[in-house]
Each structure stands twice: as C-alpha cells, then as structure tokens.
Point group: C2
Chain length 419, copies 2
C-alpha cells in the first residue's frame, strides 16, 4: 500500500488513560514514515470525520504528544454519537469514506467501547463495498471494563485504583469518627450495567473488618431488608460500615434506585444520586449518622493516581493498532491477553471487530460472594494486577502538569455536511 | 519537673495529615526520655481521657509510629464532643485532672481546631486552680483553615491539593465531552463557614478558560440569576463550565442551599447535596446536560495526594508542641508563621490558646474577585505554597499501604465515669 494518512478518533466517555493510547498511535505512526503520512484526529470524535473537522497532529511538537501519556480527558474531544445500521445511516458511512478519500486517509483508528467497535466494523464493510482501501482498527477503551474478548479494558485499571484507594482512605476516616459521629459511609461509583468498578472497591478490604464492608453491584438485585440487616450487623461488629454502590443498582422491579422518587421543591424528579438515597434509608431505618460521596467524573479522570499496568496496556494497544494497520490488517482490534495472574503476565492479541461489537462482559457470578455483598478470592486475583504500579504525572506549582494541544485544523476540502 | 507521662488526643473531623502530627508528638517525646515517660493517647479523643480509656503508644514499634506519617484518618480515634463552660462542666474538667493524676500525666497535647484550643485553655485553668502541674499545649489541625493566628492550618494544604487536582482533572474530562454531552460539571467541597477549600479549587485555573470557571463561596450570598448568567456565558464562550461549590453556600435568607426543599418519595426532607441542587437548576433553567460530584470524606482523607508542605508543617507543629512542653510552656499552641510567599519561607511561632480559642478566620474579601465567582491573585499567592510538593505513601498490591496500630489499652485505675 502506498503512503497514506491516518485518522484517529476518541469515542464515548473518556478515561484517565485514553490519551496514553492517542500518544502511542501518534508516536508509533511517526516511526512508520514510509507508510503513514500524517495522523489526523477527529475533533470531538467521529463528528470530526463527518463534518471534516480534522486536527493535524503533525503540528504538535513531540514533547506535547509525549505529555499525552500523563494527561486525562480526551485531547481531541470525544462524543456520544452512535452511527446506526448500514441501511439507516448509509449517507453517513459514505460521507466518512468521502472525507477519508479527500484527505488521502488509508488508516482508520477508532478508540472506544462496544459501539465504537461496531462502527469500525461497519466502516470497514462500507469501505470494502465502495472499493476504498481502508485499514479499520478498533482500539479498546472503557472505564466500565465490559468489552468482550479483551481480558480487561484500558482505562479500567486506573479507575479501579482510584476507587479502591478512595474507599480505603474514607474507611480510615470513618473508623476514626464512628464513636460519636458518622458510622455509615457510602461511595457511589460508575458502572451502570457491569459491576467491575464496584468490585474494584472491594480490593481495599484485605481482612475482615476493613472497609469496604458492603458492595452493591448492578448485577445483584437490591434487597432493602437484606441490605439494612447487613449494614446494621456491620456497625454492631466493627463500629462503622463503609459501602460502595454502583450507580446502576436496581430495585426488584428493574427501576434504578437513583430514579426512585426524589423530588425537589417544585415536584420535579431529581436525577442521579443513589448514594444520597441509600444514606436517607440508613438514617430513617437504622438511625445512624451517615456521610456520602459521589465520585462521578473524578474517578475516570484521576490521572494523578493512574495504574501503571493500565498506562502500559493503554500504550500497548495504541502501538499494536498501528503495527497491525501497517501489516495490512483491518477489521480487527488489539486486545489484552492474560497469560498468568501470579506473576501477572500479559500480551497483546487480536480480535475480530465483529466479535467484539455485539457482546457485553458482565461480572461472572462466581466473582461475587454468595450473599451478594462482596468479591470472591477469584475476583480479587483477576483485579489485583490491574491496579498494580504507580505512574505519577509531573507536577507544577503543586498541581499535575497536564498538556493542552494546539489542535490546529486541517483545511477543509469538501462542502459541509449536516449531522 | 520530674519525668511525667504525656496525654495526646485527636479532636473533631480528621485530616489526611493529623497522624503526621501524632507521629511527630510520639517520636519527639521518645527523644526526651528523661522528661517524658509514656505517651498515652485518648481512644476516640477526649472521650478516652474522660472514660480513662487510654492507649499505650509505647506498645507500638517505631516502624508503626513512623508509618503514621503516611496514614490518613485518626489513628487513635477522634470525636465530636465539646466540653462546655467551666461552671457547667466542672465535673468533667475535674475528672480529666483525676485521670491525669492517676496516670502520672504532666503533659496534655490536644490536636484540633477552635473548640479544642478552647478546651485546652480551660483544662490548663482547671489544672492551675487545683494545683496540678500540667503543661497544656494545643496543636492546630483543621481542613477548613479557619483557625486564627496561624498562617494556615495543618491538614488544609492536602485537601487543597486534592480538590484543585480533582477539578482540574474533571475539567479536562468535561472539555472532551462538551460537544455532545455534559457541559456543566459541579464539584461540591467542604467548608461550611469559610471558603478556603473552595478557593483552593481556583488554583487549577491558570489562564482564562481553564476549569474551574465558577466558585461559590459560603462568604458570598448566592444570587441565582447572577449564577445562571455566569454559567450560561461560560458555556457560550468556552463550550463548558466547571463549578466548585462549598457545602455552606446560602440563599439570601440565610438558609443553606443544601436544605432547600428536596423531598424523597415519602415527603422526607433530603439532607445534603448542594451539587445536585445546582445541577437541577442548571438543567431546568439553562437546559444543559450536567454531571456532579460530592467529594465529602474523600477530600480530607486523600493521603495519596497530600501536600508535602502540609506534611512538613503537620510534623513541625507536633514536634514543636513537645519541645514547648519540655521547656515548661503551657496554655499555648505552636502555629505556622509565614515569612515570605515567593520564595515560600515559614517558621513555627507560638500563640496563646486563649487568643486562638474564640476566633474564626474567614476568607478576606480581597481574596475573592469583585463578581464573587473566583479568587484574586492575592489569594493565589497565599494558597500556592500550601499545595506545593508531593509526599506519596508507599504502595502494596497497587494500593496505599496504611498502618493500623494495635492500640493497646492502659489498665484502668479509677472507677467508671458516665459522659
């Protein structure tokens, strides 16, 4: 294949290490100068391709690209924008090819989750149908760790390290205060469908009595009586109770706890916040003083406490994506393959995009204790290596020194396109 | 003075570095073996003294005491328990002296905020009146940074570093998502009366357009229209808006925003959470997608990102307290004295407890911009040195390796006492 430009875009919710992958894609592409011309990034993800709003990453100095390794967020912008089926959205798929053709793009790197794998797969099909040579490579990323085939998802290990550290620290705090003040602490974490992040909180408990004492997974239906009994027993036994709860925990009728009836003064339903709801329950039923925290974006942007394993893997998938592309592979995604847990050894494998696209990986039941409130040794063995190692960013004036790229636009060549 | 034992207790809300002070007190006392016998810690703060529930810190190996330097929470337990006036609570003050006499305690170290300084002062008065020789030393600690006389409070710098880092990181995240998803992000932080922690968030903004864009201080009355106009303008100009809000922000009628009318399905007032309330406001009035986080205990226990300056100062006040005591000083508190801001130079001074006891240090008006929504250069100059430097804990299995002491009880010598 003659020398072609590459397109790279970030998709969906960003992570603490998606920019590590961006760094790897750009640095590796720069090593293949005979095969890859420029790397154009989509501004705000795939929307940048549809609207021909491309960023010329060759305008960034090597030091700025290198600094992406320690910078959270999505350096080129991301988006929540899902291309639909091929028939329904044919014009959009064809527009992508038109933009790629106009900018001599022969490589398509799409960094995201399930939906992005699906999109990459469809783009590869359309390109083939239109006879346009395009190496389509998906690159895994998601804090939720729910992608199929890959052993773990780049981005997850760092959230895991953050939430486990946070609940351990808060546990030390609550334990100090329990005699006369707060006895129940609730930390709400992400993971609407899969309980991986909640499970990671469980790592903080090394022996009986350590925080967290109770985990509430989205995979386990919420049982109010059992929950209250467990909290009550924990407070009696250990003096306090630290709880980690997934934002996606549901009532037996399938409704999210977070949707269950909080109203503001005007009667509007209040959105979000399962932690305050549980806190209220603990106060009403158990008469215990509580505190609650909602980590929200803090957890997925906490580059300051990223996992070294995660940073290495996030780089490795980006590098592998480019290497696969220059070898002429397409319709694939580099994945993490675990070779052993103790000692932890992993390598990069390759999966077909179509196999990744339509699957979701939930927590196996045997990763959760029988009572549904904690993780098993098996789960711990799976999770532990993913949070291993520290990878601190540089600091300036006491705060992490993150980079902002110049994000210079590539001159447009086509007419506008309404998305 | 002949050799005497020492009593040390932690009071009120704990911090990421109060154990650094505990470490300093115990390590320094161990250096004065000819003057100080054992250091007894109060289990759960002053309650431990009242109930004669003392912890013998001499049972802890030097390594465990050393590990307090990097361990959050209160190693001996703290409490929210305020001794009242001398007349009202005479029995309690006399009980303290009785316990101290029974255990040959000649040094009283009380590590806390305003109330603790007040208690220390009163204990010193009672001891004097009863002719019991007791060196009473207050040691400053509070995340709120609202103690008088000391330039800053040990514990504050680490919260400041945590919240500034967190809002910077979340800002990078929101900036990535703003095109198609979240445009307004709200982080709720502590500081019910004084806005120092909120102000610290402002450090993350180094130039116009950086997060955070809006700070809401408890010292500035909340003006809904002005707030919404500011958020709207920020989103128009920068594409997104990151907000840090103190839990103590109030409506013009003096009520906390967090008390303003959220009800659960059963009509109970929902407690806490100014962030979700503001988020709802932003959604209703500006139709913007939002996310919110409540840092709660995570902020004050985040030893993993403690400020080095704070850790050094937390140690220095503990060391100075013991040195003052063996010099025969009493009724005093070691404080931080700033000698210059650039370069930052500080030293330890001494304040009279009675002067610290009844004052509260709010943010000066000239630390807040005229519009009330951000910090001034003067404030930045004050805050910047306090977050400087990193002081990472050791890690084991990917998580901070914090110590739990054995906390062996000292055998009781007295009859029980009902508190």
């Amino acid at each position: 294949m003659p020398k072609k430009n590459a397109f790279y875009a970030q998709s969906g919710g960003v992570t603490a290490t998606i920019n590590v992958t961006a760094c790897a894609v750009i640095e590796t592409a720069r090593k293949f100068r005979s095969r890859i011309g420029k790397v154009y990034a989509g501004r705000d993800g795939i929307i940048g391709a549809l609207t021909e709003d491309l960023i010329d990453t060759s305008k960034e100095p090597a030091g700025a690209i290198r600094a992406l390794r320690h910078t959270p967020g999505g350096a080129f912008g991301s988006c929540r924008y899902k291309l639909k089926g091929l028939e329904e959205s044919r014009a959009q798929y064809e527009r992508l090819i038109e933009v790629f053709r106009a900018h001599d793009i022969g490589y398509f790197f799409y960094n995201g989750g399930n939906d992005s794998a699906d999109t990459s797969y469809k783009v590869s099909q359309v390109a083939q149908k239109l006879g346009y040579p395009l190496a389509c490579i998906g690159i895994p990323k998601t804090v939720d760790n729910d992608l199929a085939l890959t052993d773990c998802c780049p981005g997850f290990g760092s959230v895991a390290k953050y939430v486990a550290t946070s609940i351990r620290e808060a546990g030390y705090d609550v334990a100090s205060m329990a005699r006369t003040s707060t006895r129940v602490f609730i930390l709400e974490v992400m993971g609407r469908h899969a309980g991986w992040i909640t499970a990671a909180c469980g790592l903080a408990q090394e022996k009986e009595g350590d925080a967290p004492h109770v985990l509430l997974f989205p995979e386990i239906v919420f049982d109010q009586d059992k929950f209250l009994a467990k909290v009550d027993e924990t407070v009696r036994r250990h003096g306090y109770c630290a709880i980690a709860v997934s934002e996606g925990v549901r009532w037996p009728d399938g409704k999210f706890l977070s949707e269950s009836g909080l109203r503001d003064a005007f009667g509007h339903a209040q959105l979000g916040g399962v932690a305050p709801l549980l806190a209220q329950l603990v106060k009403d039923k158990l008469k215990q003083k509580y505190h609650w925290a909602v980590a929200d974006y803090l957890q997925r942007s906490a580059r300051h406490i990223a996992s070294k394993t995660d940073a290495l893997q996030s780089y490795a998938v980006g590098k592998a994506a480019v290497e696969l592309a220059v070898k002429g592979r397409g319709g694939v995604m580099p994945i993490i393959v675990r070779k052993s847990s103790k000692p932890y050894r992993w390598t990069i494998g390759v999966a077909d995009l179509k196999d990744v696209a339509n699957a979701e990986k939930m927590m196996p039941r045997d990763f959760v204790t029988e009572d549904g409130f904690h993780i098993t040794a098996k789960c711990r063995q799976y999770l532990e290596p993913l949070v291993a190692g520290e990878d601190y960013p540089p600091y300036r004036n006491g705060l992490p020194d993150y980079v902002r790229l110049r994000n210079v636009a590539v001159p447009k060549k086509l007419a506008g396109f309404k998305i």
